[in-house]
Symmetry: C2
Amino acid sequence: MSLRIDLGRLRRDLEELGRFGRDPRGGISRPSFSRADLEARDWLKSLIVEAGLELGEDGAGNIFGRRPGPGRTVMAGSHIDTVVNGGMYDGAVGVLAALEALRRIHEEGAATGKAMEVAAFTDEEGNLVGDFMGSRAFAGLVDPDALRTGMTSFGAPLAEILSGTRFSVDSILAASRERPDLEAYLELHIEQGPVLDSEDIPVGIVEAIAGKRWRLCSFTGRAGHAGTTPLELRRDAFLGLADFAQKATRLTAADFEGGVVTIGKMTAHPGAFSIIPGKVEFTLDARSADPDALAGLEKALLALAEDIASTRGLTFASKLVDATEPVRIEDRMRALIKEEADALGYPSIELPSGAGHDAQIVASLCPVGMIFIPSPDGVSHAPEESVRWDDLEKGANVLLAAWLRLAR
Amino acid sequence: MSLRIDLGRLRRDLEELGRFGRDPRGGISRPSFSRADLEARDWLKSLIVEAGLELGEDGAGNIFGRRPGPGRTVMAGSHIDTVVNGGMYDGAVGVLAALEALRRIHEEGAATGKAMEVAAFTDEEGNLVGDFMGSRAFAGLVDPDALRTGMTSFGAPLAEILSGTRFSVDSILAASRERPDLEAYLELHIEQGPVLDSEDIPVGIVEAIAGKRWRLCSFTGRAGHAGTTPLELRRDAFLGLADFAQKATRLTAADFEGGVVTIGKMTAHPGAFSIIPGKVEFTLDARSADPDALAGLEKALLALAEDIASTRGLTFASKLVDATEPVRIEDRMRALIKEEADALGYPSIELPSGAGHDAQIVASLCPVGMIFIPSPDGVSHAPEESVRWDDLEKGANVLLAAWLRLAR
């Protein structure tokens, strides 16, 4: 018997989920514990119950649909929260494809030697207090101080956001106690980048998930009157950043294959037409899927910044504000996915994931595998985010086949 | 008889004026028509009356102290308003040195063939609706639409700022009708740059006042996920700006001697750690004391921006938001100042003014001359702005001598 997912049903589920959190400014805004998210959770729970699965929800709001079985649990999932003004597919595809796969397995009464469980993790997008709160809580890796004192991106403490729900900081901290014993974890996700789309390959097998270093940085020079200070006497902090941005990009491209560096936000002080910036603050995002390369890249970027500062009469300062470690996917998990894609006749390639995913956190508990489907034009975290239905069908069928094999 | 100013009296006046608008955040904040400015105006008017001069005030709030005489009027002045968190000397030095000079002339009963008048122009700093509102109104060069619809830097329309005073948009527009027939105008000012201080010269003779072009600009590319978009597939708007900032500085230094270019403020959109800037908006300030060079510089900068945009797959847009024309000081006015400095035994050099001044506007009415004194370390528009008292004495004595000679 060769099981296949029902694309029509999966598509209807995705479109229904996409109705929760429609934002008049564009796209979908469904951060965890928002009203839209609470409605979407109720909807997801009713699907789990209708499918005949055992509904579970832990103290962090992670939602589970379990098909009991002997032995350990093989889990598949992702998240249903979104960034503000995000799209319909980031995360949603992984949860609903896993649910569809498990529904088909359950409908067909497939015999398995393991329990199977679909998971929807809370706040993967980090709208509350840092990325991956739900999967971190599931793995017992949340920072109690961050939960208690951290400010959410909505300008309110987490406890205030939780006040209308049955969850609390304490329940989040206790969430990992309810965790089943895991055998393996699978996650289907949109690539969120352009590689599969540009190469016209429907299935990506993730070989590693990039780690990142986030630093808040500054160059400080001397403010001055834009009209009266000759160019050669300036210590313009922004020109230091301009120099750094260009050289950092060249250095990363030349010496750290697959590494990326991004300056996403910057503020000049005092910030006026006629005043030479005396200080500029900026964000620095550096990523690599290779742990040694990530450490080397961070070191090289800091050395470059110091070098530019000393050449230009500036000072450089930076503070690490977030870090996740790269995760290399085990060979046997990659081979399993490749074999199932091959058996289904779908072309596949291996590629790293530049974005972080819940799988990165669950990797601290058990072997993980990740399957990507193409993001048309590489667009994600935007209202224009999309998938092609035939790609989704292929990715979900590979998930079903690999999951079932792990659970046999 | 060789008249000299009384430095002790001038210094006391400057220190007294410096008490109006002390800002707890640092320095002096005395924008025109603020409470501090209204108090400072009353104080200045009482000094004028005490000196035995005829007090005048036009519909723009420009304050005058007149020593009547036959023939046309020879005027000297500057402004007493400040930028927010500014210093004690920018503008104040020119008004109070002129008042001191005219007091000495009047005390000594010097015979002159012309009327002499000290002037304090309103809102030179452009805290309300553009630079030089007072001198522009005096010269009949204000834009009625800007007065009626422009928003001040305090977020309220001009009419609201004026509501507690005896002034109005209509009275400002009518101010030029009260203007005397001008023979010449002199202005003493701090350099606001480092040239005189670094060369240890007490007197600067301004040869030209720079004009400027202010543009609000943007590069637009494509936003994307900082983790998933390979460097070579990015259209990062901020990297376009970084490239432009460096090349614009090099181009200006290489091809436009004495020209300056400054990017003082920039904002990336959407502006987050993990999102490649899809758009960056920034200010562009370009200045030169030479009219042809200013036009050439502006053209070269716009061509550079377009070139960078097309190379990097970005689009560039810009909008002119303010412009002043360079003013070349007439040879005979520069010679007059040089001769009086020489006669007093003070070293002097000629230099351009990178900053704009009321003299630039009054130049539309009559010949003007400008005398600079050193700004220690080039600092201005800051609480640390200063003068050395012996430099001030020399500058004020040159002003007195040149003014008296023009009025003989």
